[in-house]
Symmetry: D2
Subunit: 347 residues, 4 copies
């Protein structure tokens, strides 16, 4: 059985583990105040070409989202997100646990538009009893989205401008940011992204680290006392240097991006193979998550040897699945999948 | 200017004020532990024909909803409601302030169906990572809804059965319950309602009291320590007897229901007048809130002498407004409105 | 049985009820946006001699405290209060419900000192892992305290200066502020108080209104969007004009203060009577709450005809009770109490 | 510089890292549903001799405490803890973030007594307005405490019985439980502990793992939906098997306990060395944390070569510090410390 279900089924890139070994007996201060974290912060500031950024390391995505959103909003404010946004549907109400409403906007492809944002903003202020409604305070988007789709630079610029007009903070969930940045479909660079939002993170868990999310804050409101917010959320790792060591290993020579690029390439090979054999895609993704729509009989045969994540029933006899590549996917596995697809589709 | 904007523009029925005068200098214990509250509780239990019910008196609807929902749910649970439900759109996130997500379901007329509820329930449990989603724990409906529409007994029975099947509590917002129960379109009695849910309230603020909502709890889970939940919410009135005195005045001889019935009758006169003159209704309401769709030029003329609540633009030259009657509406005002409508529609 | 247990056992001063009658059928906008509330706001700004103050009307003290504290603090901040502070011991965790810790300081008389505040502040910042501790963000004091004691102008000035030095907001719970301001032991005026804090309230419930607390905000951080915070807390009264009408009735000619002064005078008569007969006071109160320590046999006899609130056992055969006067206390009742005391103490 | 500041300055025992290497490329389900976690659960149930226990793996102590307490309490309930309890003073209000008050009890040695608990319980219920107070719902103790002290079996039994009498859940913070269980001063076994509480955890972070806390739940109320609570708290690790692999490595042959025993032995050597040279201990600890009180001049000299954690000033010229051993402490380091102490104390 070869698994394409998700991008966190294995441990970590070997270099990560070697570095943990090499640094293991060194004594360092706890809670992210060690020199590895400092070095990793410097790498990230360099990559973003902005020395003024604050960088914090957390363990997982849900706690990261909760910490940033809690730091940003006053009690009566909410966060605008796509209905399919991770914070809206797969975090067991962690945002609400912090007292805030997710103002969810339907979206076919998982992306929000500047117009969506403006509409929510206007609907709030135009209501004569707007004080009876949750006030929008922040916009949450994912790059790439939970559907693998990407915001273009122009879209991001429009969203950023709209947020500025409306007094909203912009937060970009980058759990798979590497896969996004290295995609052939992406025209946004990391420094551009860093400039076009108030906060984002450079995901680690799904990009070849054991775990870890590197939060980058540019807005002073968010910077202030962010470590308190982390601690209150239970998101400050005692042996914080584990995060610093891992990010250093990944960023010192660009391994993070090389691994992402390779995974994207393999994903696109898979996409093209499906499309060439007549299987359309549910979403137009150029990143490591692909969503082919398969005849159920083809899917059934494929699933004898391969595991995918079920996504949705498209009609009576077609199903969309998620096929994920990652830093750990072997070329050989992709080739076998394509061969099997040939067999199943009767070519 | 004659106002039909809402049902809380005046003070209270005169009898209420007289009673407050008569009882004013009596010394009673605070916090709802006085004999007036006890008497009012007895009236409500009698009306519901169930001696086992717990009855508590709160000041307003938002605090009542927050208290009941907070009392009902464990931290990871949410409450299913229509998108147009009051808790979802007009309480500034009071439910989220308590840490809970509103699982909002689109609805054309403001009502939830048993099928809606079953779908949300299933979508949660069928997701392979259901622990990553908010767990449905309660269903919130309003009788009548925020659009004036009513649940039939059969609909309520289906919802109640579905909630039982799915392990969900059922909570009925009765801010305008009197107008609902006395409507010509209602086939549910108060004892039936009390039997078909875990909690509901018999609204006072919009039904002729100065303020007040009488929460009725049948489920032991909700009964337990509910007074603590009220106090924590800031919803326990020091001079609680003010609520008891008011409910006694309203319920001792059925005045509460007589006033509601009269308001419903006046609302239906208004509805028929609009319909007879070619103005359709946005919602099929048989209660004190009516939503005629008017040509903008007619609306403009009417608004010289009458105030309505803007509801929505229906198309380029038609607008829906809310026309409310209440315990305080005068027959004369309704007649004048109909006469004015005649003039404006050119009859 | 004559009751001295508390200052909220009766309804309201007769003028309040008359005004509610007179204004009853007037139609006004809801939620505190009516002309009565505006007039009451003007009275309060005049009394404070500061036109820049924001004034909001809420129903009860617990919801008022929760709203102001929630509006003031970021998530990781807490509020410094005396252990005996109302928010710490008698609000069922309403502050914690908003996510904030009460940083409680022991106090013999219910008052905080500038030194107490500085100590909590320093203990936080001097801890090498201060990010692991709740950050002080606000100071909460009551004037008069829950023990009837008063802050002098000088004490308030020191506290205010200390708060400024430490970047802490200062909030004064004024549930019984009238009794405080009119006390012979008080050297702080209302304009001085308004200048020496960021927020306070002029209590109504315990001062002769049916209910109501008038929050006065001077700090722009608190002013911003305070109505949202009120609504989220369930603390925005639909028929808000009921609060405006009541405060107008009380403030238009100083009735609020006259009633408080009278109650203070009666309380001091009671205090002196107890002291003259050898009963010491548990707290040195000059306001409407007195705390005599009585031999248990005397107390037992007194309680045949009078009701007090039990406060604490002082030793094996002495008990401290709270004796409260209010706007409603009759001279005759005080005289009877003193006569009974004479009989019981065997004079 | 040799560091005795804390027990989390290094990475992890070498076996942990080797196991992560060996299992690195295996594909497993995420979120703790893998076979390593299952195996680790089986080890823990065996060690506790109770097959009915639920075991969950979390990353750090603060998130673990928050998750268990949130799972246990209804909104109006609080948790009784010593003032020096970790949840009360070093978690930035994580318990309050969940809406609950810590009912803090002063304690000289960091321990609660059965009598303390009974007093808090009684004070709540005897107050005539108990609904105005936070209701005690759980007791939190640490074994060993934050001061290194230990509960005896008899003390635990009394606390457990008291909790039963009062309807309170008992939760034992075991961040350093291994050091506690293996101490010469401990007469409680793991199966006994598991039987004498509703929930506890077997700490990993401070006991030689990279990170990790294994929560053990016996009470059905806590077991129900605990994974939802973890996820909502942001405490469900995506690559959950990292926790399973580590606990397996530590528990398969008792390494966890061997390392703890060795650290305790070294700590006791240090304690005796200080005591023999006339330095008393601030707390009577038999575990890996020791708190000697040193003349400031001795401390100053020692700190040229050794690092300790400052604890408190004891008087004008004496200071208490914390000296920690751990799984990583070398015998040689302890010998050097003792030699240096000899020099400094002039022997």
């Amino acid at each position: 059985m070869i698994r394409f279900e998700c991008d966190y089924a294995e441990g970590a890139h070997e270099r990560i583990l070697r570095r943990l070994f090499e640094t293991n007996l060194e004594q360092t201060p706890g809670y992210g105040e060690d020199h590895y974290c400092d070095q990793a912060r410097a790498y990230i500031r360099d990559l973003c070409r902005d020395d003024s950024l604050d960088v914090h390391f957390l363990v997982g995505g849900t706690q990261t989202n909760a910490a940033v959103i809690t730091a940003a909003l006053r009690p009566h404010q909410g966060v605008i997100a796509a209905v399919s946004g991770h914070i809206n549907c797969h975090e067991t109400g962690a945002v609400e646990a912090g007292g805030h409403k997710v103002l969810a906007v339907p979206s076919a492809d998982g992306k929000l538009t500047a117009l969506d944002i403006r509409r929510v903003y206007r609907a709030h202020w135009e209501d004569s009893t707007h004080e009876h409604m949750v006030q929008p305070g922040m916009v949450y988007i994912s790059q790439p989205t939970e559907n693998g789709t990407l915001y273009s630079r122009r879209e991001l610029e429009e969203i950023w401008r709209t947020c500025g007009d409306c007094g909203l903070l912009l937060f970009v969930d980058g759990a798979r940011l590497g896969y996004g940045l290295m995609s052939e479909g992406c025209d946004v660079t990391l420094p551009e992204l860093a400039r076009l939002c108030d906060a984002f993170y450079l995901g680690g868990t799904k990009q070849g680290l054991l775990f870890g999310e590197a939060v980058v804050l540019s807005n002073p409101v968010l910077k202030r006392d962010f470590r308190y917010i982390m601690k209150r959320q239970g998101a400050m790792l005692a042996k914080g240097r584990l995060l610093g060591v891992q990010y250093c290993a990944m960023l010192e020579d660009g391994l993070y991006f090389d691994l992402a690029k390779r995974a994207d390439r393999l994903a696109m090979e898979i996409r093209r193979a499906f499309e060439d054999r007549g299987c359309p895609m549910l979403f137009d993704s150029y990143t490591n998550q692909q969503y082919p729509i398969l005849p159920d009989e083809v899917l059934e045969k494929l699933e004898e040897d391969f595991a995918f994540a079920f996504w949705s029933k498209v009609d009576g006899d077609h199903t969309a699945v998620r096929v994920c590549t990652s830093w750990a996917t072997e070329e050989r596995a992709v080739k076998e999948l394509i061969r099997a697809l040939d067999r199943c589709t009767g070519d």
